[in-house]
């Protein structure tokens, strides 16, 4: 690019960018200092750029430079500058525009470069990271491969061990079987030998028996000629010598052995067996009925447990099962009455056991559900309870605190009073005075009471006197009254009786006269 016109002393096109930047560096305004710094950081400016710059454009080759610049600029896609014909100098505006555009380009390029550089750095670090991880993974893979091979080795060894153990087990089993077969063969051999010996033994016994019998017979024959009683004395044969025969233990006489006797024995034997079987059957029946009763009670209890009162039904699924249970329960209770009738029936028994099993299963599921519910509710309640109890707790605490405060105040007050009471005043006079005050008060009170008392006493005396006077007067009056009465009665009597001249008996007994007068 740009080699179709190379001016003399043209610097290397590769240094172009550096030249341009040096140009910009020269005509930089102070406000662009920072940009310049950044540019500096990205690109190392050669110190020789200034000298190169002077080599590119001189007074003589302005048009060539312009043409060259136009060429370059066109290749970059920018508008070129034209040379003004009048003075052979460039107009500043297009040049500035061009410069600006070039600067823009430059900036863009710088930015792109910057981005690329950052990208490059990122990629570098990523690459590094990937390399590291790659190494690590390779190591891990190596490690796991080694482990794997180790495990394989171990497994192989264990397999070997298993094989050897299995072989050993097989050989042991074979040995056991062999030994068992040996034992059984030896057992049969021993049995055979034992039987043989036994037969020999029996033969010997028979022989011995025979010999003894022969001996006895011989002796008997011999001694038969002797006295009858001497038979009993021979001790070569077995005999019993008894002074007198004893009665039977049950007192009955002995019976002859007949067929009837045999039949009777058989009968007795069977009777004994039968009675034993009957007692056993009876006890089993009783046990059976007891167990059945227990089962029925259990069933009833289970039904009642599974069907509680309506209001306290908890959840929906439980509800369904309960209703079902209730309906079934009613059925069951109906059944049970039937069951009691056909106790020994096979079907009834099966029915009972099946129903028990069903109820039990229901009860179990119910219990499980209740358990889960209870655990859930317990968790919830625990939290709720905590809050509740905390509130209450707080209230309680408040109340107690207030109470405590009140009590404290009260106690404090009491203490103060007590202190006042107990604490002796500074001077004794006041104390004495105080004491005097108290005693004076008491004295006054007592005086008052005395006075009252005396007054009352006087009044009482007065009254007593009055009473006595009154009593005396009363006595006198009574006497006078009696006399008057007597006189009046006398006159009355005298007026009543026909015997007017007989005055004497009427005077002495006015009462009796009256009574006489009344009953003529």
């Amino acid at each position: 690019m740009g080699d179709w016109w190379t001016p003399t002393m043209m610097p290397d096109p590769s240094l172009d960018t550096k030249e341009l930047s040096s140009i910009s560096g020269i005509s930089m305004s102070p406000s662009r200092q920072n940009l310049h710094h950044s540019l500096h950081s990205t690109m190392a400016l050669p110190k020789t750029s200034y000298s190169v710059l002077s080599a590119f454009c001189t007074e003589e080759n302005i048009s060539q430079c312009i043409a060259y610049i136009n060429q370059e600029v066109c290749s970059l896609g920018l508008t070129g500058v034209s040379l003004e014909s009048k003075s052979g100098s460039l107009s500043a505006v297009p040049v500035l525009n061009l410069l600006y555009e070039v600067l823009q380009l430059q900036r863009r390029a710088q930015r792109a470069l910057h981005e690329l550089e950052t990208q490059q750095l990122k990629n570098g670090s990523d690459l590094e990271h990937l390399q590291h991880s790659n190494c690590r993974l390779k190591d891990q893979l190596e490690h796991t491969r080694r482990d794997n091979s180790g495990l394989h080795e171990g497994e192989r060894q264990l397999q070997l061990k298993i094989k050897t153990l299995q072989n050993w087990l097989k050989s042991e089993k074979e040995e056991v079987q062999k030994l068992q077969s040996i034992i059984s063969s030896r057992a049969t051999q021993y049995n055979h030998d034992t039987k043989r010996k036994e037969r020999e033994c029996t033969k010997l016994k028979e022989r011995l028996n025979q010999l003894l019998m022969d001996k006895r017979d011989k002796k008997l024959c011999e001694s038969f000629q002797m006295s009858y009683f001497c038979i009993l004395c021979l001790h070569l044969c077995s005999a019993i010598e008894i002074s007198n025969h004893v009665g039977r233990s049950d007192g009955k006489r002995g019976l002859w052995k007949t067929g009837k006797m045999e039949a009777r024995h058989e009968g007795e034997m069977y009777r004994a067996l039968l009675s034993d079987y009957e007692t056993r059957q009876r006890s089993l029946m009783m046990e059976n009925s007891e167990l059945k009763k227990v089962l029925q009670h259990m069933k009833k209890d289970m039904i009642t447990i599974l069907s509680p009162k309506k209001p306290c039904i908890k959840t929906e699924p439980a509800n369904d099962s309960l209703e079902q249970a209730v309906s079934e329960g009613e059925e069951e209770i109906g059944d049970s009455s039937r069951e009691t009738l056909e106790q020994s029936c096979e079907q009834a028994r099966e029915q009972l056991t099946n129903s028990i099993r069903l109820q039990w299963r229901k009860l179990k599921s119910h219990m499980e559900r209740l358990d889960s519910q209870a655990s859930l509710v317990a968790c919830q309640e625990r939290e709720g309870e905590e809050m509740m109890s905390r509130k209450e707790h707080e209230e309680e605490m408040q109340r107690m605190r207030m109470e405590l405060q009140q009590c404290k105040e009260f106690i404090h007050m009491q203490q103060q009073l007590l202190q006042q009471q107990l604490s002796s005043p500074c001077d004794e006079e006041t104390a004495a005075l105080l004491n005097d005050c108290y005693t004076l008060e008491e004295k006054e009170r007592l005086k008052e009471e005395w006075r009252l008392f005396n007054e009352q006493k006087r009044n009482f005396e007065q009254e007593r006197k009055n009473f006595t006077e009154a009593a005396i007067r009363l006595g006198h009056e009574r006497k006078a009254f009696e006399e008057d009465r007597a006189a009046w009665l006398k006159t009355q009597f005298l007026n009543m009786t026909p015997f007017v001249d007989r005055k004497r008996p009427a005077l002495s007994e006015p009462h009796s006269a009256l009574s006489v007068g009344e009953c003529p």
Binding site: L212, S243, S249, H265
Partner: protein, 435 residues
């Protein structure tokens, strides 16, 4: 606890009469009968030979004394002291002798188990039963004394004969499905007969009274099998103790195993109580060791012992048996139910110092009694749930659900005599201990 004076007896022959009124002891040739309460000698009899076996008849009227060496059995009467009876088996010999349940017949087993002779004291009749089997328990009478089961062996096969004790009529005779019958036992309700096989095969068969096979049970094969069997008094349970140190309980309805009791060396069951006997020897100062003291006061050598409760888990001392010997000392050798069916006492032979008590209501271990010496014998009280055991020292140990106690049996002299067996007497609430 009150103790009577000690009196001599030989060969562990000391038996209380079934009605509890008399106590009979044998000393060599003599048979001494004493009144039980006062221990006064009531009768004194002399036999022809040292007595080997002595037994009361069921009605307490007669006593039989068997002298095996001479093949003689002598029977004495309590009502008529001058009545006498002598049974001579002759050259055929005598191996065992026993009463029948009615107290009027004597069953003698001859030597080599050639036959069983039934001698009657009432009549002149003699019955012979051929081919009885010689085994651990070949003869058993029902509890009511009506029937007798006898194991027989003919042509290498086991048979069982059921006799009516009334007239020794053979009621049933059937083949038993055992290889080699080791024992048979009637259930207390007299209707079921339990028959078990030799220890080489674990098999227990249950036959009904009329000879039908009700059920058969076998826990395992090849290992050593059944060692001991016990019925519960109500006939509800059948306890089978075996050589694998377990007790299996069968129920009477299905004849199947309802549970098995294990006897582990470490007890971790938290409900069980472990009683350990702890001995305390009195400390003796040197000035007490005078000859006079030693001869007169034997409390020097007597040790006090008491029970302590051990914390769980507890270790039970185990003695490993010799594997090369026959009849190894391992397995449950003794089982006993209490009279009220509630408890079961077991003894495991390779834990000889321990006695295990199980609760039958809960079917679990209730208590373990660990003694200082091997347990020799244990027996339940016929009336209440009380267990008495002895270990060969001068003490008797009692266990009840309330607790444990050890009681010193006072004996004269320096030698500690060892109780070998115990006998609990029903009416008299007493325990006869003989050494």
């Amino acid at each position: 606890m009150n103790f009577s004076e000690v009196f001599k007896q030989s060969n562990q022959l000391c038996k209380v009469s079934p009605d509890g009124k008399y106590l009979a002891t044998c000393v060599q040739y003599r048979l001494v009968v004493r009144d039980f309460n006062s221990l006064q000698i009531v009768h004194l009899y002399t036999c022809l030979d040292p007595v080997m076996h002595m037994e009361w008849s069921s009605d307490s009227l007669f006593i039989l004394c068997a002298m095996y060496k001479r093949g003689l059995v002598q029977v004495w009467s309590l009502e008529q002291p001058d009545w006498h009876c002598k049974i001579d088996e002759g050259s055929i010999g005598l191996v065992s002798s026993r009463w029948s349940p009615d107290g009027r017949h004597i069953l003698n087993t001859t030597e080599f188990n050639l036959r069983v002779t039934v001698w009657s004291l009432c009549t002149k009749a003699v019955s012979y039963i051929k081919y009885p089997k010689a085994c651990q328990k070949g003869v058993d009478f029902t509890a009511d004394g009506r029937y007798m089961a006898l194991a027989e062996r003919r042509e290498c096969k086991d048979y069982i004969s059921v006799f009516v004790c009334d007239d020794w009529h053979l009621l049933r005779h059937f083949e038993s499905e055992t290889q080699d019958l080791a024992g048979l036992e009637w259930s207390p309700n007299c209707c079921v007969l339990a028959v078990w096989d030799n220890c080489l095969e674990y098999k227990i068969l249950l036959y009904s009274l009329d000879g039908r096979l009700l059920s058969s049970y076998s826990a395992y094969e090849w290992s050593l099998g059944i060692k001991s069997v016990a019925w519960s008094p109500s006939s509800q349970f059948l306890a089978v103790g075996s050589y694998d140190e377990k007790v299996r309980i069968l129920n009477h309805i299905t004849w199947k195993k309802i549970t098995e009791f294990e006897h582990p060396a470490t007890i971790i069951n938290t409900k069980a109580v472990v009683f350990k006997e702890v001995e305390k020897r009195p400390v003796v100062g040197s000035e007490d060791l005078s000859i006079h003291q030693l001869t007169v006061d034997n409390s020097l050598f007597s040790t006090q012992s008491k029970y302590e409760i051990t914390q769980l888990p507890a270790q039970v001392p185990v003695i490993k048996p010799d594997p090369d010997r026959a009849n190894p000392k391992i397995g449950i050798s003794a089982l006993a139910f209490s009279a009220d069916n509630r408890f079961l006492a077991t003894k495991n032979d390779n834990m000889p110092q321990s006695l295990w008590v199980w609760d039958m209501q809960r079917l679990s271990l209730l208590a373990v009694l660990e003694q200082t010496a091997p347990v020799r014998c244990f027996v339940w009280d016929p009336r209440r749930p009380r267990l008495a055991l002895c270990t060969g020292n001068t003490k008797v140990y009692l266990w009840s659900p309330a607790g444990c106690v050890s009681v010193n049996v006072p004996v004269e002299g320096m030698d500690p005599v060892s109780p070998h067996s115990l006998f609990q007497d029903c009416p008299a609430y007493s325990l006869a201990v003989w050494c």
